[in-house]
Amino acid sequence: MSSIQQQNTFDWKKTLQIGLIGGAVGVLIAMVGMVEEFNKRDIIAGTLTMGWTILSLTMLVTGLFAARAAASNASSVVGSIVAGTIFGAVMSILVWIVDKYNIRDILVNASPTLVKHLTFEKGIPNGLFMLIGLGAAVGGLGGVIQILPENIRRAISLGLGIAALLGLLQEIIQVSLANFEGASKAVEWMFGKGTEKGLSLAGAILVFVVVAAGNYLWTGNASKISAGFEKLPQSSRKSFRWLGYGLLFLALIYLPVVLGLYLTEVVNVTGLFILMGLGLNIVVGFAGLLDLGYVAFYAVGAYTVGVLTNLSGELTLNLGWNFWLALPIGVALAVLAGVALGVPVLNMRGDYLAIVTLGFGEIIRILALSDFLKPHIGGSQGIVNIPPPGFLDVIIKTPQTLYYLIVAGCLLALFISSRLRDSRLGRSWKALREDEDVAQAMGINLVATKLLAFATGAAFSGLSGSILAIKLGTIYPHSFALLISINVLALIIVGGMGSIPGVFVGALLLAGMPELLREFAEYRLLIYGALLVVMMQVRPEGFWPEATHKRELHAENAEPQAEGGAA
């Protein structure tokens, strides 16, 4: 094959390679049990399960890559179909092997159920042909999507994404909309009936069409709309902004009423992670100090409140303090712990810092668990009977009441961290992150700057832990495992290191979603791990990257803006 020909057609070797890699990923997804497990959930009732959604998505991406490797549009589609077929073939070989030989002793998920799932319950070989055909079709679809213009492609992927998300969260949406009489009919039409889960087929198509069309039209006109907004005089723009804040505020207040008991609980869990995320964002995102033992401060906050307020009568200290008295002490001790950790690691760089902070987190957890401190902080039996606090006449115990406490905490942390970000301290942290030596040579006092980062981060975490103590009513050392640190780290990385809105995005994705999909908890860390690796390669700045401040051209705005913030 001459090189000229090669330009016109596609690269066989590359296509084969992509198909094989895609197939291997598919096999891995099947063999770790994700297909079987995720098939318990429907995205579109009776039509498409979640397991198949994941597999199809892999096929689609395989097709996309294959199409990208090809030169012309026609060869893109052919290439993607070929790659998809190879994908299907690899999966078929797997199915065939699993069916023929019993390898369950080694690979626990190589079960007859898996074969049944992957062959559409049509048996071998009919099911295998269907599998290969599906691979070709979905791969080809990927190729077609790849050659579409950018804006259509984006509209389609957004439509598919939103439809999948709605299908996934069907139960929750249905439960929360059940409170509204009028909505129930529409809900019934949109979603599966009775015990069915997921969207109805018609509902899925509707969601897809509306979202895709909406996005297409919006991207066409967004610039006009925002330009129109820019044209408005300064003062009315400001009015709009205030109106926005006002609406947001109202939404925050009424959220628990709309969401109901369970979803409020999910929001609360997310809120605790947002609090920790905002803190760790200061340490890792702003100051660039990789802290893997962040959970320690969460533990200090929780244990302080637990020890000071509990009424169990089993510990040496039996104070039974009011929560509102214990809370500041919890935060203060967390800050102290932050400084105590900060001092020894002042001179350590990234890698050493990571291992020492990890060790610090483990030390705190082991001490909490130990028989040595059991008389004082409960050891493995934890601290029980932490009474709920009261605020005015309300006892803060139900998810709805806790919600306001957590929102207040989050708003406080949000306020503090955005104020700090835009100050001398924020600049110093970022300078530290970029180049520690030069930052010091610019006159930045490293000791103070680093300790302030640790202390502020620890304060937020301590606050989060203090709230956790009254939320659970009992605290166990097991709640403060390393995994919490990793979870918080993952969420700020996925959201965007150093980005405050990113913390919210990350927490919704990595704390809220998993809480809603608790039945798949087994795969949580697998997905986190893959997400971290992929993010670092594809989008190291996160989903909502840190914004840069325009300060020169908008110099005249800078002053009033600062004033507005103070109001």
Binding site: L243, L261, V269, I366, N385, T398, G473, Y476, R518
Partner: protein, 435 residues
């Protein structure tokens, strides 16, 4: 400035309109919380059918014709402790199937929450369950930490919960804050198991010196504590109460330090794989060559003797015991094999089966059926009915619930001894002693 003022005013206007829409009066927050907290009770007491007046102190559940009787499970069905949850869940399903899936003319609906064997999971599951006012009763939880976080919510919602495997003494201790009305268990309290293990060691084996090891789990820590207290009470000596961490593999240092006290038996009511490592390495430590080993139900699994090897031979295990010659139990195992396949993966299925039957019986007992088939169940009445259970003949023996919620008597416990047969794959081991 004028414009900003305008914006603020309009904001205020919107806020007040919203407040008015919500029924006005009081702060927004107050309205919000009230509305939400009352949602549960409201739904429960909503629109009683003609002819029935709910007089129950904490509300009634009304089931219209065709609607299901809704019960829930809160079990740890995923993760490292999944076998415990699956074990209970299977038994619940069998108990429901035994009644043809129906009760007082209504289908039984079972929904479930995964509790992950930690307090956070327990709280999330408890919240989700307590938010659903159609739920009458709950079977769960598996781990005691889950119950501590879930029970306040479930009790508050007026439901009952029967646990097949919570063993922590606090949960049924009326003086303890973790004791809530509406909580029952068919599992034996740790006080029973720790006691029989200690009695077995002191009275049956005639030992005078023992040591214990726990792994930092609340379960093991509490069990070894009871064991040590009872053993000392009986007149024996506890030479050491040591602890290891989950994930440790090197048990020799801790065993060497235990060897210094020269105990005759080591009691380690922990889990795999730390239990395997302790058993295996104990034989290699100078001074412990002939020490007796004793574990508890955490190690009562067919994988344990195989993975431990020859060191497991001769080891004692305390655990839930159901006589395999018991006809009812045989029938149960047969149903398991037919409906679920294989054998139950853990030791608390019989407890879960009994728990479900107690719940279903009580529902049947208190249900008020209208002419049109609508069923009303008083929540307090249901609780009272379960507190009043006496002499219930279950798989785990004759159960009677006391006023604190303890339904098990401790008679369904036994001490087993492993031999070379178990090391080579036989399971379960024969029971050696029963209190």
């Amino acid at each position: 400035m004028n414009k900003r003022l305008l914006a603020l005013l309009s904001l205020l206007a919107i806020a007040s309109m919203a407040l008015a829409a919500c029924g006005g009066g009081g702060a927004a927050t107050e309205a919000a919380t009230e509305a939400a907290t009352e949602a549960a009770t409201e739904a429960a007491t909503e629109a009683p059918a003609a002819g029935f007046e709910c007089t129950d102190a904490i509300g009634c559940v009304d089931i219209a014709p065709g609607d299901p009787i809704h019960i829930a499970y809160a079990l740890t069905v995923s993760g490292a402790t999944a076998s415990l949850g699956e074990d209970s869940k299977g038994a619940i399903e069998i108990a429901i199937a035994d009644r043809g899936g129906e009760l007082v003319g209504h289908p039984i609906e079972l929904t479930g929450e995964d509790t992950l064997c930690n307090a956070e999971g327990g709280q999330a599951a408890g919240t989700k369950i307590s938010a659903d006012a159609t739920i009458i009763g709950v079977i769960g939880t598996n781990c005691s930490s889950e119950a501590r976080a879930a029970m306040p919510l479930i009790s508050q919602a007026g439901m009952v919960m029967i646990s097949p495997s919570n063993t922590n003494p606090d949960l049924t201790d009326p003086t303890h804050s973790d004791h809530h009305p509406g909580y029952f268990r068919t599992a034996h309290n740790d006080l029973f198991q720790g006691r029989i293990a200690a009695e077995f060691a002191y009275n049956e084996l005639g030992l005078k010196k023992v040591a214990t090891i726990h792994d930092g789990s609340p379960y093991a820590e509490s069990l070894q504590r009871v064991f040590a207290e009872v053993f000392a009470e009986l007149g024996g000596e506890v030479t050491a109460q040591e602890a290891v961490n989950v994930g440790d593999t090197d048990m020799k240092p801790v065993l060497t330090s235990i060897a210094a006290g020269a105990p005759e038996l080591i009691y380690f009511p922990i889990f795999e794989p730390e239990g395997n490592l302790i058993a295996a390495q104990s034989k290699e430590v100078a001074g412990l060559e002939n020490v007796l080993l004793m574990g508890a139900d955490g190690l009562f699994a067919d994988t344990f003797p195989e993975a431990t090897g020859s060191a497991a031979s001769g080891m004692y295990l305390s655990g839930p015991y159901v006589d395999v010659n018991n006809e009812a139990y045989k029938a149960f195992l047969q149903k398991w094999a037919d409906q679920i396949g294989g054998v139950p993966p853990s030791g608390f299925h019989a407890h879960a089966y009994d728990a479900t039957n107690i719940l279903l019986n009580a529902i049947e007992e208190v249900a008020v059926v209208d002419a049109d088939g609508t069923v009303h169940i008083g929540r307090q009445a249901l609780r009272d009915a379960i507190y009043a259970v006496k002499g219930f003949a279950g798989l785990t023996g004759t159960l009677s619930c006391d006023e604190n919620g303890d339904c098990a008597t401790g008679e369904a416990l036994g001490v087993f001894q492993l031999s070379d047969a178990e090391v080579n794959g036989a399971w379960p081991p024969p029971v050696l002693w029963q209190p």
